[in-house]
Symmetry: C2
Subunit: 458 residues, 2 copies
C-alpha cells in the first residue's frame, strides 16, 4: 500500500467547480430572517438594499444544492488553492496515539486564513453588478485582509471598519490591508451616525465587531453604488466556504479515507460550516455517521451556553434578525480574550443543525488553546492562528482519548490560518501572563437581556 503523503494536493482538474448549499439537503430549514421593521420573514427585496443582488439570491436560496463557481472566481482560487490536506504524522507520534489526524490547512495565502474563499466570491459578484465600492468590518483583521486582496484584484474600492482595539494593537494587519488599497477606519468612528452615537455614550470604547458591522452597513446603505459584505455567519458565506469541505472530502476519497470525527473552530461559523458541509450531507442523508464537533472559546460560548433565539447580527440593531445560538448582541467578550471567535452569535444554519442534534459543541479555555498551539507549532512547524488552535486543542483531546481506548479513529480538523499577526497573545502565553475568563451566569444574563422581544415569537 502506498503511504499516505504528508501533504496531499488535488490537481487543478480535481478542484471543485461548484459550491455546495447544505440547506438543500437539510430535513428542516433554519428559521427565516426577520425584517426588524415588519417582524415578518425578510424577502429578497428587504435585503437587496444591503447586499449585492446575486449574493442576496444565494442568501435566500434553500433549494438549489449546487452553484457553479464563476470562471473568474475559479481563476483567483487557483492562485492559492487547492489547499493541502495534511497528515499530521509528527503530531501523531508526539501524542503517541493510534488515531490518524488530518488537517485541512487554509493559511497558505497572504490573508492568512480561509476568509479569502468568500471574499473573492463577494468581490467578484459586486464587480459583475457594476458596484463602485464596498464596505465591511474586521475584528482580528483576517477578513479585512482577505477582502482587501480580493477587491484589489477585481478593482473595487473598499472601506474596512476595523474594531478600534485591533486597529491600535495590530498596525501590521492594517498595513497589509493598506498595501492592497483598503481604506481602513477605526471603529467606532465619526463617519457614521451609529459610530457617533456610541462615541458620545462611551468616548473611550475600544469598539466591538457588532458596532463595526453597524457602521459598515450604514455607510453602504447611504452611499450610491455601494454595498455591504460580511465574512461569516451568512448563508452565502457558508456556501462559498463549502470549497474547504468539498476539497477535503475529495482528497480523502482519493486517499481511501473517511473521517470518524470532523472538528472545526466556531466564531460565526464560516470555516466550520464550509469544512463540514459534505460530511454533514452524508450524515443527513444517512450515508455515514461522523461525529461533528464545533469548538468555541469558553469566554464567548454561544453554542454551549447561549440561547437559540432571534437576535440582531449587529450591536446597532439595524440588520435583519436571525434565529441562532446567541449570547445577545449586547454581549461583549472580556478584553483578556485573545483567541478571536468573539462574535455573539452563530450561523443560523449551524445553529439549526446543532439544535437538531447533528453536531456537538465544546468550549475550551484560552490557556489550554495556546498550550495546544505551541505544542502543534513545534511538531507540525506551522504557527497556528489562535482561532485555529481551538480546533487543534479538541483534535488533540480526541486523539488522546484514542490513546486511552486504543481506537485508531480518523480525525479531520480545519486549520483555518496562521498566527503571524497574533504574536502579542503568544508572548503573553509564553510569559505566563495569559489568564482565562469564563463569564458568570449573571454576566451572560446581561447579554440575554439585550435579546429583542418579538410579540408572538419570543
Amino acid at each position: 500500500m502506498t503511504k499516505i503523503p504528508h501533504r496531499f494536493y488535488l490537481s487543478e482538474e480535481e478542484m471543485p467547480k461548484q459550491w455546495y448549499n447544505l440547506r438543500a439537503d437539510m430535513k428542516e430549514q433554519p428559521a427565516p430572517m426577520l425584517n426588524p421593521a415588519t417582524l415578518k420573514p425578510a424577502t429578497l427585496e428587504d435585503i437587496t438594499p444591503v447586499f449585492c443582488t446575486e449574493l442576496a439570491k444565494q442568501e435566500m436560496d434553500s433549494t438549489t444544492p449546487y452553484f457553479d463557481i464563476p470562471e473568474e472566481v475559479q481563476e483567483m482560487y487557483k492562485m492559492y488553492r487547492p489547499s493541502p490536506l495534511v497528515r499530521a504524522y509528527s503530531l501523531e507520534r508526539a501524542l503517541d496515539t493510534p488515531a490518524k489526524i488530518y488537517y485541512k490547512f487554509e493559511g497558505n495565502n497572504t490573508s492568512g486564513s480561509h476568509k479569502l474563499n468568500s471574499a473573492i466570491a463577494q468581490a467578484y459578484y459586486a464587480k459583475e453588478q457594476g458596484l463602485t465600492s464596498l464596505t465591511t468590518e474586521t475584528g482580528a483583521g483576517q477578513w479585512g485582509t482577505a477582502l482587501s486582496e480580493a477587491c484589489s484584484y477585481f478593482g473595487i474600492p473598499l472601506t474596512v471598519y476595523m474594531v478600534k482595539v485591533s486597529y491600535e494593537q495590530k498596525p501590521f494587519r492594517k498595513a497589509v490591508m493598506q498595501t492592497f488599497d483598503g481604506n481602513v477606519i477605526p471603529s467606532p468612528s465619526a463617519t457614521t451616525e451609529v459610530g457617533r452615537k456610541i462615541l458620545a455614550e462611551n468616548p473611550n470604547t475600544t469598539g466591538s465587531l457588532g458596532c463595526a458591522i453597524s457602521e459598515a452597513v450604514e455607510t453602504a446603505v447611504n452611499t450610491p453604488g455601494c454595498k455591504y459584505v460580511l465574512g461569516s455567519v451568512l448563508n452565502q458565506v457558508l456556501l462559498h466556504q463549502s470549497i474547504i469541505g468539498l476539497e477535503t472530502a475529495k482528497a480523502m476519497e482519493i486517499l481511501g479515507e473517511y473521517p470518524d470525527i470532523v472538528i472545526g473552530c466556531a466564531g460565526g461559523g464560516s470555516n466550520l460550516g464550509g469544512l463540514i458541509a459534505p460530511f454533514m450531507r452524508d450524515k443527513i442523508l444517512g450515508k455515514a455517521n461522523p461525529r461533528i464537533i464545533a469548538v468555541e472559546p469558553a469566554s464567548c460560548p454561544s453554542l454551549t451556553r447561549g440561547k437559540y433565539a432571534y437576535d440582531f447580527c449587529d450591536t446597532g440593531k439595524i440588520t435583519p434578525m436571525a434565529k441562532m445560538y446567541t449570547l445577545g448582541s449586547g454581549f461583549i467578550p472580556s478584553a483578556n480574550h485573545a483567541g478571536g471567535l468573539r462574535y455573539h452569535g452563530m450561523s443560523p444554519i449551524l445553529s439549526k443543525l446543532y439544535h437538531d442534534g447533528y453536531m456537538e459543541a465544546v468550549s475550551v479555555e484560552q490557556t489550554r488553546v495556546f498550550e495546544a498551539a505551541v505544542f502543534f507549532a513545534k511538531k507540525e512547524t506551522i504557527l497556528p492562528a489562535p482561532e485555529s488552535a481551538h480546533a487543534i486543542r479538541a483534535a488533540m483531546d480526541e486523539a488522546l482519548k484514542c490513546k486511552e481506548t486504543g481506537e485508531a479513529k480518523t480525525i479531520v480538523f480545519g486549520l483555518t490560518g496562521t498566527g503571524y499577526f497574533d504574536m502579542t497573545a503568544y508572548s503573553a502565553y509564553l510569559e505566563g501572563k495569559m489568564t482565562d475568563y469564563i463569564p458568570s451566569d449573571e454576566e451572560l444574563q446581561k447579554g440575554f437581556d439585550s435579546l429583542p422581544k418579538i410579540p408572538g415569537i419570543q
Copy 2:
C-alpha cells in the same frame, strides 16, 4: 495541450532524495578558505572547532556531486515541501508581456522563507553528532526563525544573536523564535568578549550581522558540546538549498519547460545558489545556456561594486577568510535600507562563477523594489519579503523588455519568502517616506580599507 497549472507541486515520490554539490561540476574551484592565523588554506581540522563534523566535511568537499538527504531530514522537508512552482498568469496579464513567468515560492512555511531548507539539515547533523546546543545569528529574523523551528523539532537548545536594531524593531519575529524555544539575545551583547568590546567602543550601536556572527562563533567555541551554524554564504548552505533548484528543474521538465532566464535575489547567496544549481550545471556542461541573474540592493552592492578579494566573514575577524566579492567586513549598509540582503560579502562559489562570467548581476534601488513588491502582491496575492522583491523587480524588468521585443522568453525567479514581518518598511513605502541610498565611491572605499592585507596573496 494541457494548460500549465497555476501552481504545480511535485508528488512526494518525485521530491529530490539527494542534494547537488555544484562545485563537483565547476571547471575551476573557488579559492580555498584561509586560516587567519597561518594564512594557509583551512583544513578540516581548522574548521571542526566551529562546525559540526558532517557539515565541516560537506563544506570542504568539492568533488562529490550528490549527497543523500538523510531520511529524518526528508521527513521534515515533507512537512512543508515540495514548494509550488507557480505560473504567474495574473502578473503576465498585468504586464501585457509575451514572456512566461514562473516563480518558485519558498514562503509557505512558518519561518516564511527558504532558510528552513538548510536549518533542518544543520540541526539534524548536530543532533546526530550528539551536540547539546547550537548558536547562530540573525538579521531580519528569517534564519533565526527557521533554525529555531528546526532545533525545536530535533530537540536541541539554540541561542540566537539577533542584530539589535531588528530585535527592537521586530518584536514579533523575536516572539516566533521564542515560541520555538529559541533563546534570543540582542547583539552586540555583554555575553561575549567581542560584544563587550564593540559596546565599549560604541555603546549606542544598533549592531550588524557581522558582529552577531562574531558573538555566535565565540559562544560556540567557548561552550562544550556547542557548535555554530550559519544560514548563508557557506558551501554547505548552498548544497542544502540546492533542493530549491532541483525541485524547480524537475517540475519544469514535467511541464515541458526550460528557462531562458533564471533570476534570484542575492544577499549571502543561499537562495540564489540553491535555485540556480541545476541550471548552472547545464550551463557549465554546455547542455543549455540560460542567462543567470543575481539581483542585489543598490545600497549593499557586493557583486556589482565590490572587490573579489579575501575577507573575513564577520566583523570580529575571527572566522576563516574567504575569497569572495565583498564590500569589506567594515562596510555597514545605510540604516534606511529596509530590504534585507545587507551582508558585506557573497558566497565564494557564486563569487567565482560571477568572476568567471557564468552569471550576471544587477543592483536595484529600494523604492523600485517596493514598487514591484506592491504591484506583485496585488496581482499574485502574495505579499513578498523585501528580499524576494529584488528578484520580482528584475523579473518584471525582463518581462517588460520582452514586451518591447515581442520575445516569449521563459523566466524563472525565486520568491524566497513572505513579508508579514516587514510591514514597517511597506508602510514607509506606501506613505512616501522611503528613500533610496547609493553609497558613494568614498564610502565604499572605507569598507575596502577594512580588507585584510595578506602578504604574497593580496
